[in-house]
């Protein structure tokens, strides 16, 4: 295989994110830097060819976007997003356009769960959700879980059980756990339910919690405490 740095691609590469905020040439914002660093570490993880992405990103940004006017209902409030690039994910709409930065961007590929939000009460990966597709839906982010200064039971449980270290995945973990409790309450199954034979009303064992939280990765590996927090929140919900 030739050196990846010399790889010539037939098609122009496109930016990996839909960042629409322009920066003056030569100016490196913190976000740009963080993004470039992310690309480099992704390249390290998956093999060097991804380096090419960073170099060609600017050239491809020249293509003309399609724009639409959107209104999104987030945490009970209407937000208007005029002339939004159709490529914008729900996650980027929240973070880059509305300053709702609680939802986090980890992988931007639906693999880590840091971006988990609730759409009509269901947990989804906001990084793979195009903003245009959720107009008319009720979106709940981590910012919308507390009632004023009163934390939600899941938020309380995460604090009580020290269910995080760096905290970056925590908003996604908390949104995910919030939906998990609803799913369990209506007797939804998981893959584990079939192995325990509890396919009517599965008990929320630690194995069930682990399986049902598997869409949320924690690089600090705070998993034991996350499981404890979810277990506690589930007990509280039943009480």
């Amino acid at each position: 295989m030739s050196s990846p740095l010399c790889t010539e691609l037939e098609e122009p590469l496109t930016p990996t994110s839909d960042q629409t905020t322009p920066h003056a040439e030569g100016e490196i914002s913190r976000r740009t830097f963080v993004k470039a660093a992310g690309l480099l570490s992704a390249a390290a993880a998956t093999g060097l060819p991804r380096l090419a992405h960073a170099e060609d990103a600017q050239a491809a940004a020249a293509t003309e976007p399609h724009r639409i006017d959107l209104t999104l209902k987030i945490n009970g409030k209407d937000y208007s997003l005029p002339a939004l690039d159709t490529r914008t994910s729900l996650l980027d709409a929240l973070r880059e356009h509305l300053d709702l930065t609680g939802s986090k961007k980890g992988c931007d590929h639906g693999q880590c769960g840091a971006c988990t939000v609730l759409v009509d009460g269901r947990r989804v990966n906001s990084c793979l959700t195009l903003a245009a597709t959720v107009e008319g839906a009720e979106i709940t982010t981590v910012e919308g879980l507390a009632n004023g200064e009163t934390l939600s039971p899941v938020q309380e449980a995460f604090l009580e059980h020290d269910a995080f270290q760096c905290g970056y995945c925590t908003p996604g973990q908390i949104c995910s756990a919030t939906a998990l409790l609803d799913e369990h309450k209506r007797h939804d199954l998981s893959a584990v339910s079939f192995n325990t034979g509890q396919t009517a009303t599965p008990e929320l064992t630690d194995n069930e919690i682990r399986e049902r939280m598997s869409g949320n990765i924690c690089r600090c590996a705070a998993y034991p405490n996350i499981v404890a927090a979810v277990r506690a929140a589930a007990k509280g919900a039943r009480a």
Binding site: L9, R50, S176, E183, D188, G215
Partner: protein, 330 residues
Amino acid sequence: MNPFSYERATDSSAAVRAVSAHGAKFLGGGTNLVDLMRDGVENPTKLIDVNHLRLDEVTRLPNGGVRAGAGVRNSDLANHEIIRTHYPLLSQALLNGASPQLRNMATTAGNLMQRTRCYYFMDTAFPACNKREPGSGCAAIQGFNRIHAILGASESCIATNPSDMSVALAALEATVHVEGPGGKRAIPIADFHLLPGSTPHIETSLKPDELITAVELPAPKFAKHSYYLKVRDRQSYAFALVSVAAGLELEGGTIKSAGLALGGVALKPWRSLEAEKALKGAAPTAEAFQKAAKLALDGAKPQKDNAFKIELAKQSIVHALTLAAKGAQA
């Protein structure tokens, strides 16, 4: 990601008309398509959002079967009372795929249409991929091919189909219902996904301007005795190295009929009619299951890094059939 225009279709015929535009694609849950667009593997210039077509119901059919709308989310299908009770094999397969968040987004039709997770296909930095760029070659054949096919592969492509749902659908003899400009038609699941041959970029028998509207299952036979076994590198949230959908219809100590399909081994769900035939009329014993396993892997040809898959698949078949016979999930 390249720019694209976006529109919501409100009924299936409007969606079919809209998709005839050059570069147009249907958008369901987006869990695979949006991801591939972000990496430049897919480059549609127009997305037709088909999430508002009201194809989201699961209904009983007069023949005792069931019809699942194309837009039913994977999590809803897996947890639907009819599916849980009468087709637990399908529930179990669905719940072994992806994560809760992704299952909440992914649709029945989208799951059928999801594309391979071959690394060389997924990353445009690798120039050779006959799926992405017909005629460019296959980087996987000379590359690291531990996850690749052992059955039905060709010199053009050795990728596998990543779906769990489709493996269960193959064992359950599902039918895919589609609508196009020329009307409606039904495609048996066995004919839906195509083997690579010399045209690996053509992945299904669905025409570009056809819309999947539903999947139908015949009356249930394996409700009491089925098992979906998925073997992977970690316990959850990973694609199958090998998976087995096993269904048995038992009557008086013999197998009246069997359904057996493999995932992770070929570019389509690999149903083994030979194995099913051998099981029919036999007693549900280890010997019968071993014979079926041997038949199912007949003709398997490993790549340089995945010879382990042949034995893994055989043992997985025996294990899945054993658990199915026990009625492990009843």
